[in-house]
Amino acid sequence: AQSVTQLDSQVPVFEEAPVELRCNYSSSVSVYLFWYVQYPNQGLQLLLKYLSGSTLVKGINGFEAEFNKSQTSFHLRKPSVHISDTAEYFCAVSAPETGANNLFFGTGTRLTVIP
């Protein structure tokens, strides 16, 4: 079975500072990894995904993530955050080899950007 751990439930950071949101996964098969963002009272929006190939993945809004198979991690980073980045961020994993396209989500990290 697949699972996702987001170690930090809340991350406060000052505007224009860099940020890293951590995500670790566990799976016995190869996985696909995703980061979604959820703004208040809205649905989830895909930031980026890793399916195969280059381990450094670039997404929307200046975010990027690096897949590290040996550490089973997929941390999300942004070099300089903006107030508008304040939101909940979810890491998710899918294991298509299991025959399902289900997404398993972590519990989320609330990013608060401080002016």
């Binding site: 809205q42 997404l103 519990t107 989320g108």
Partner: protein
């Protein structure tokens, strides 16, 4: 713009009174999903439809049912809502269940049970 629409955005119901949440999509995707997201928790998959084929998650309570009358629409029926069913309900779509595709999410319906 192609999108996933959920109505209503906010729904209030009484304990035990049946309620239906609606989802529609203009993406013409084959797969539609319903997730439950309780406060400060991760979204949890309840079930999904691949075309007309219904796939229920093993731990989804019988109190939750779904209907998909056509490609565009999917409904979530809660037969007898309890206080523990208060949550955000998210609808999502994807093109094909056999390949990993981006799931497109609607804005969600926040359900309050009084």
């Amino acid at each position: 713009d192609a999108m996933v629409i959920q109505n209503p955005r906010y729904q209030v119901t009484q304990f035990g009174k049946p309620v239906t949440l609606s989802c529609s999509q203009t993406l013409n995707h084959n797969v539609m999903y319903w997730y439950q997201q309780k406060s400060s928790q991760a979204p949890k998959l309840l079930f999904h439809y691949y075309d007309k084929d219904f796939n229920n998650e093993a731990d989804t309570p019988d109190n939750f049912q779904s209907r998909r009358p056509n490609t565009s629409f999917c409904f979530l029926d809660i037969r007898s809502p309890g206080l523990g069913d208060a949550a955000m309900y998210l609808c999502a779509t994807s093109r094909d269940p056999d390949r990993v595709n981006e799931q497109f999410f609607g804005p969600g319906t926040r359900l309050t049970v009084l």
